[in-house]
C-alpha cells in the first residue's frame, strides 16, 4: 500500500507540467528553476549571462546559456546539460561552483530536466562571452570543487515523504529542488554548504533572506496559504512586499508559476520546522531607544506607512507584522533605510514604488533606534538594533557602490 501511494505521488510530481505543449512546458521548467533570474544581466538579453553574484568567497558571473554555439551552450548534448544541471560538471569535466544551485537541481526528475532542455535549445542565440570566474585564489581553481562536492554534495533524486499529501510533496519538490529556495534562505557553513536548519534565514549579498519556515512572526507560520500564494504571485500581501533580491525571484519565477504550484509551496513552507522561538516579549515602550525611535517614526514615516504601521496596500508596505523587519538580523531593514529600495513589479501589481534613502538624514544611532521601534511596535517583536550594526552596514555599502 505504502509503495503504491509513493508511486502515485511520484506520478503527480512528474505529471504536473507535462500536460502543456513541449516548449511551454520547458519554459515553465525554466520558470520553476528561475534560470533567467541569474543568467540575465540587468538590461541584458535573456539567458545571455553576465549577472555578478556576490558570494562569501568572491564574485562569480553567471555564464551565457543561450543556444549560441561558441559562447553559450549551443554545442551541448542533452546529457551534457543534465550533468551540468544536476551534478555541477560541464562538458570537458569543468566543475561549476555551487552558486549554480546543482545541489538543489540534483533533485529534479529526469522528465523535468529533459523538458527544460527542449526549451533551452530554442532560446535565441546571443553571442556574448562571459568570464565567469572572478574568484580569488584558491577558490578560482575549479578542481577545488571536487573536494567540496566530496564533503558537501550528496546528490539524490527527490523522494516524496509518505503520509504527506500530494500537494505537500509537490511543494517540497519545488522548494528544495528546482525552486532552490534554500540557496538564499538556508544558512550556510563556513564552506558555503547548507546547514541543517533549512530555510531559517541567511545573510547574502548584503541582505538577509528571511526565515520562511512555520516560524511566527518571522516566517510564514501566521500566513494563510492564500497569503503565501498572493505574495509569490503578485509580490505583495498584507504582511509586506518583495524587495531586494526577492524582486528578481518574483518577477522571473514565482509570479509566473501556476496557482496550484504556489499553493503547494505554501502548504510545504507552513510545515517546515522553525529555527527557534521568537523573543518572548516585546521591548518595553518606555525603553529610551523605543521612545527615540517612536519620535523619529512620527516625524518621518507616518506619511506613507501610517501611525498604525499598516501602510497602504500595493503602494506603502505595512510594517506591522512585516516579517522582513523581524528577522534575527536587521541587515535588510538597515540597508533599506540607508539605500532606499524599489519593490517588485508584477502584472497584478505593476507600480513598483520605491522607498527613498535616509542615509543622508539619520545617524547610525537614529537608524538603530528607529528600527528598534518598528521591530517592536504594533505587536512586532524582535531584538533591538545597535548603532554598530548600522555603522558596519554603512561602511560595507559604501564599498559596494
Amino acid at each position: 500500500m505504502k509503495r503504491y501511494v509513493l508511486a502515485l505521488l511520484l506520478a503527480t510530481v512528474a505529471a504536473a507540467p507535462a500536460c502543456a505543449a513541449d516548449k511551454s512546458a520547458g519554459r515553465y521548467q525554466a520558470v520553476l528553476g528561475d534560470c533567467e533570474g541569474c543568467h540575465t544581466a540587468p538590461g541584458g538579453k535573456p539567458f545571455a549571462g553576465g549577472l555578478v553574484l556576490e558570494t562569501p568567497f568572491g564574485k562569480i558571473v553567471s555564464p551565457n546559456i543561450t543556444s549560441d554555439r561558441d559562447t553559450g551552450i549551443g554545442g551541448w548534448s542533452e546529457g551534457d546539460f543534465r550533468r551540468a544541471v544536476r551534478e555541477g560538471v560541464s562538458p570537458g569535466g569543468k566543475r561549476l561552483y555551487p552558486a549554480m544551485p546543482y545541489p538543489a537541481y540534483a533533485m529534479m526528475s529526469d522528465a523535468d530536466v529533459a523538458t527544460l532542455w527542449t526549451y533551452m535549445k530554442t532560446v535565441a542565440p546571443v553571442r556574448q562571452a562571459v568570464e565567469s570566474n572572478l574568484l580569488p585564489f584558491p577558490f578560482k581553481i575549479r578542481a577545488v570543487m571536487a573536494v567540496w562536492n566530496w564533503l558537501n554534495f550528496k546528490p539524490a533524486p527527490f523522494a516524496p515523504t509518505a503520509g504527506k499529501s500530494a500537494e505537500w510533496n509537490r511543494g517540497a519538490y519545488l522548494v528544495t529542488g528546482p525552486g532552490h529556495c534554500g540557496a538564499c534562505h538556508t544558512p550556510k557553513t563556513l564552506l558555503g554548504a547548507d546547514r541543517a536548519a533549512a530555510l531559517t534565514g541567511a545573510s547574502l549579498q548584503g541582505w538577509f533572506a528571511p526565515e520562511i519556515t512555520s516560524a511566527e512572526p518571522r516566517g510564514v507560520g501566521g500566513w494563510s496559504a492564500q497569503d503565501t500564494l498572493t505574495y509569490l504571485k503578485t509580490g505583495w500581501n498584507s504582511y509586506g512586499v518583495a524587495t531586494g533580491p526577492m524582486v528578481e525571484v518574483v518577477e522571473h519565477s514565482t509570479s509566473q508559476m501556476s496557482d496550484a504550484d504556489l499553493s503547494s509551496i505554501a502548504a510545504y513552507l507552513k510545515d517546515v520546522p522553525a529555527a527557534e522561538a521568537a523573543p518572548a516579549s516585546v521591548m518595553a515602550a518606555n525603553d529610551p531607544a523605543m521612545q527615540a525611535g517612536a519620535k523619529l517614526y512620527q516625524n518621518n514615516c507616518v506619511g506613507c506607512h501610517g501611525a498604525d504601521g499598516r501602510g497602504e496596500h500595493l503602494i506603502f508596505p505595512p510594517l506591522a507584522g512585516n516579517a522582513v523587519l523581524m528577522q534575527v538580523s536587521a541587515e535588510s531593514p538597515i540597508r533599506i533605510l540607508l539605500e532606499g529600495a524599489q519593490s517588485v513589479s508584477t502584472k497584478a501589481a505593476p507600480t513598483s514604488p520605491s522607498m527613498p534613502s535616509f542615509a543622508w538624514k539619520f545617524s547610525d544611532a537614529e537608524i538603530a533606534d528607529l528600527l528598534t521601534y518598528v521591530r517592536n511596535a504594533w505587536g512586532n517583536r524582535a531584538p533591538a538594533v545597535d548603532a554598530d550594526s548600522v555603522a558596519k552596514a554603512r561602511a560595507s555599502l559604501k564599498g559596494r557602490s
Partner: protein, 588 residues
C-alpha cells in the same frame, strides 16, 4: 554632422503628460516608440525624496524643478510697437523640465471645459451677435465636447481624480457643478475633505443662491488603483504640491500614473538630457523624416521616424514648428498665417482677501487643488447681454499651502519688514483666507507668438517672442468678477476685506500662472488653425502637436484636464485612423 540612428515608428519630443500618454497608447498598439527629453530622468523616491521634498527654499523659491533660462529663454513685450526683451528668469510662468514635465509640479486641478467653449465663436455669435466679439479673434476648435467626453474620462481615471459629478448623463446631481457638460460616470474618487475656509465659502455662497462644489482634484482623497493598474497613496494634505514633486505618490503625475507601466515595455525607450533641435522635413515639405537632437556632450544625432509627436510645453511646440518650417508663421498685421496665432494666457488678479480675528484656518492642512468653487460667473453660464464683455472665471476658496516663506499674509498698511511685520505675520497666519477668480483669456489679433529677430539660444536658434497684454474685454471681465467676489467676501463676514482685479500691462516678473495656451491651435479650417481636429499639422501630415498650444482660447479654469483629454483623443486618432491610412486625416 549628426549621427544617423536606426529608424523608429514614433519619435516623441518631450516626456511630460502628453508624451507619456501618447507613448503609452501607441506602445499598446505595438509601435516602437522613442521619447527624446531635454531634461533629466526624475523618479519619486530619488528626486522627490520625502525627507527633503518639503524644502520651500530649494523648490518653490529657487525653482529647482523648472526650466532654467540658460537652457531656453523667451523674450516678451506687451504689443507690436515695443522691442521685446529676454526674460532673465522664469517667474510669471514656470515651464517644467525633465521627465514628467509640468505634470510633476502642478497643483492637480483636473477640469473639463464646457461644451459651449469648444464652439465659442459659433455659440457667442448666435447668442449675442457678431458685434459682441468683434474685438476678439474667437474660433471654434473643430472638435466637440461630446467627441472628447470619453477622452476626458480616460484622463480622469488614469489620474485618479477626487470630485463630485454635477451632471451625470444629463441628470443634474446635487453637490456637483450643475453647469458642467454631461459626464458618463462619477469621478473615480470622492472629493477631498474640505478645510474650514472652503466650508465657510461654500456656506456663504449657498445662502446667496450660488452653486458651490468641490473642485476636481487629482490629489487622491483615498488610496487609488488607476486604469493601468498603478497604485497611488492617499493624500496627506501636506501642502507641497505646486512647484514640488509629490513624495507620497498622491498627486497624479506621469511618474505616479503611467511611467511604471510604460518604462517596463520593450518597445519604449526614453533618451533623457537630449534636446531636440529641429524636425527635418522631406524635400516636398509635406512630411517629416526625422528629428535632430543633441546630447549633453554636444553630439548631434538624427532620429528618423514615421510619426513625429511634438509633446513639449505648448510654447516650445510652437517654437519647434517655427524653427522647423512646419506651417505658416502668423502675421498680426495681416491676420494671416497660423503658427503663433491666438496665444492666450489666464486672467488672474481678481481676488478678495479676507482678514479675521480669532480664526484657525490652518492653512498648512492643504493640498494643491483643495478648494470649494463655483461657476456661476464663469464662461457663458450667466447672461452677458447687458454686460460689456464675454468670458468669466471660476471663483474659489481653498487651502493650497501654508508654507512658511511664501504664505505670509498681512493686512493692508503693514510694513514690508521689521518687528511690526513680524508681529502682523504671526497674527495673520491663522486669520486670513481669500476668494479668488481664475479668469478666461480670449484671443485678439495682436497677442501672438513668433521667433525673436534679435535674441538667440546657446545653439544660435532664435528665442520665442511673446507679444501679449490683457485684452480690454478680459479686464472688464476681471472688474466684473471682483464685484462678485466682494459680495461673496462680504457674506463671509471678515473683519477686513481687500478686493483687487487685473490691470493693463502684463508684467512677466510676478508669478501669475503657468497656463499659456494657443499658438498651434486646432480647428476645422486650415486658414485659422495650425492643426486639425486630431492635432495633426495641416501642412506636415505625420507631425502631431499636442498640449495647450491647441487651445483656441483659454477658459476660466486650469488647462491640464483638457490637455490630457486631447492627448488621449489624438492617440486614438493615430491608432484607429492614421495607422490604417497615413496621410491627412482631414482634407484641407
Amino acid at each position: 554632422m549628426a549621427q544617423l540612428l536606426p529608424h523608429k515608428e514614433v519619435v516623441i519630443m518631450g516626456l511630460g503628460w502628453t508624451g507619456s500618454i501618447l507613448a503609452q497608447e501607441l506602445t499598446e498598439a505595438g509601435l516602437q516608440v522613442v521619447a527624446i527629453e531635454r531634461g533629466p530622468w526624475r523618479d519619486t523616491a530619488s528626486d522627490f525624496n520625502i525627507g527633503y521634498m518639503p524644502d520651500e527654499l530649494r523648490f518653490a523659491v529657487r525653482k529647482d524643478l523648472f526650466l532654467q533660462p540658460a537652457l531656453e529663454a523667451m523674450t516678451m513685450r506687451n504689443n507690436i510697437g515695443q522691442t521685446a526683451m529676454p526674460m532673465r528668469d522664469y517667474s510669471s510662468f514656470l515651464p517644467g523640465s525633465g521627465v514628467g514635465g509640468a505634470g510633476v509640479h502642478w497643483n492637480g486641478f483636473n477640469w473639463r471645459f464646457f461644451p459651449n467653449e469648444f464652439v465659442a465663436k459659433t455659440h457667442l455669435t448666435k447668442r449675442y451677435g457678431a458685434k459682441k466679439i468683434a474685438e476678439l479673434q474667437m474660433e471654434d476648435w473643430g472638435v466637440t465636447y461630446d467627441e472628447l467626453e470619453q477622452s476626458y474620462d480616460k484622463f480622469e481615471y488614469v489620474c485618479g481624480t477626487s470630485g463630485k459629478a454635477g451632471n451625470l448623463k444629463g441628470q443634474i446631481v446635487e453637490g456637483g457643478n450643475p453647469f458642467e457638460g454631461q459626464r458618463s460616470r462619477e469621478y473615480p474618487l470622492p472629493p477631498l475633505t474640505m478645510p474650514y475656509a472652503s466650508t465657510m465659502f461654500a456656506q456663504a455662497a449657498k445662502e446667496m443662491g450660488l452653486h458651490p462644489f468641490p473642485l476636481p482634484a487629482s490629489n487622491m482623497s483615498r488610496p487609488y488603483v488607476n486604469s493601468l493598474g498603478i497604485s497611488m497613496g492617499q493624500c496627506t494634505y501636506c501642502g507641497y504640491c505646486e512647484r514640488f514633486g509629490c513624495a507620497n505618490y498622491s498627486k497624479a503625475a506621469p511618474q505616479t500614473t503611467i511611467l511604471p507601466v510604460l518604462m517596463k515595455k520593450s518597445n519604449f525607450e526614453v533618451r533623457t538630457e537630449c534636446e531636440v533641435l529641429k524636425v527635418n522635413l522631406r524635400p516636398d515639405g509635406k512630411t517629416a523624416k526625422s528629428v535632430t537632437y543633441m546630447d549633453t556632450a554636444g553630439r548631434e544625432f538624427e532620429q528618423p521616424g514615421d510619426i513625429i509627436l511634438l509633446c513639449g510645453y505648448g510654447l516650445m511646440n510652437v517654437r519647434m514648428m517655427l524653427l522647423s518650417g512646419i506651417g505658416h508663421p502668423y502675421d498680426p498685421n495681416t491676420g494671416k498665417g497660423q503658427v503663433g496665432r491666438n496665444y492666450c494666457y489666464q486672467t488672474q488678479g481678481s481676488a478678495a482677501r479676507l482678514f479675521y480675528e480669532g480664526k484657525h484656518f490652518n492653512p498648512f492642512v492643504a493640498s494643491g487643488a483643495l478648494s470649494s468653487g463655483l461657476d456661476d460667473f464663469n464662461s457663458d453660464v450667466f447672461d452677458h447681454g447687458p454686460l460689456d464683455f464675454v468670458g468669466g472665471a471660476n471663483v474659489s476658496c481653498g487651502n493650497s499651502n501654508g508654507r512658511p516663506i511664501g504664505n505670509r499674509p498681512t493686512p493692508p498698511g503693514t510694513p514690508r519688514w521689521g518687528s511690526v511685520w513680524k508681529k502682523a505675520t504671526a497674527e495673520t497666519y491663522q486669520n486670513a483666507t481669500a476668494v479668488g477668480a481664475q479668469g478666461s483669456s480670449y484671443p485678439t489679433r495682436g497677442n501672438y507668438l513668433d521667433l525673436d529677430p534679435t535674441y538667440k539660444d546657446r545653439h544660435g536658434r532664435p528665442l520665442l517672442r511673446i507679444t501679449f497684454d490683457f485684452p480690454d474685454n478680459d479686464l472688464r471681465m476681471s472688474q466684473y468678477l471682483s464685484t462678485q467676489l466682494a459680495k461673496i467676501g462680504k457674506a463671509m463676514n471678515p473683519k477686513q476685506m481687500v478686493v483687487s482685479h487685473a490691470t493693463k500691462g502684463w508684467n512677466s516678473v510676478p508669478y501669475q500662472t503657468t497656463h499659456n495656451t494657443g499658438g498651434a491651435t486646432m480647428g476645422a479650417k486650415p486658414d485659422t488653425s495650425a492643426v486639425n481636429k486630431f492635432l495633426q499639422s495641416w501642412d506636415v501630415s505625420n507631425v502631431f502637436v499636442l498640449g495647450a498650444s491647441a487651445f483656441q482660447q483659454n477658459e476660466g479654469r486650469n488647462p491640464t484636464g483638457t490637455v490630457g483629454a486631447l492627448a488621449f483623443w489624438a492617440a486614438e486618432a493615430i491608432r484607429d485612423r492614421y495607422l490604417k491610412q497615413p496621410g491627412p486625416l482631414v482634407q484641407a
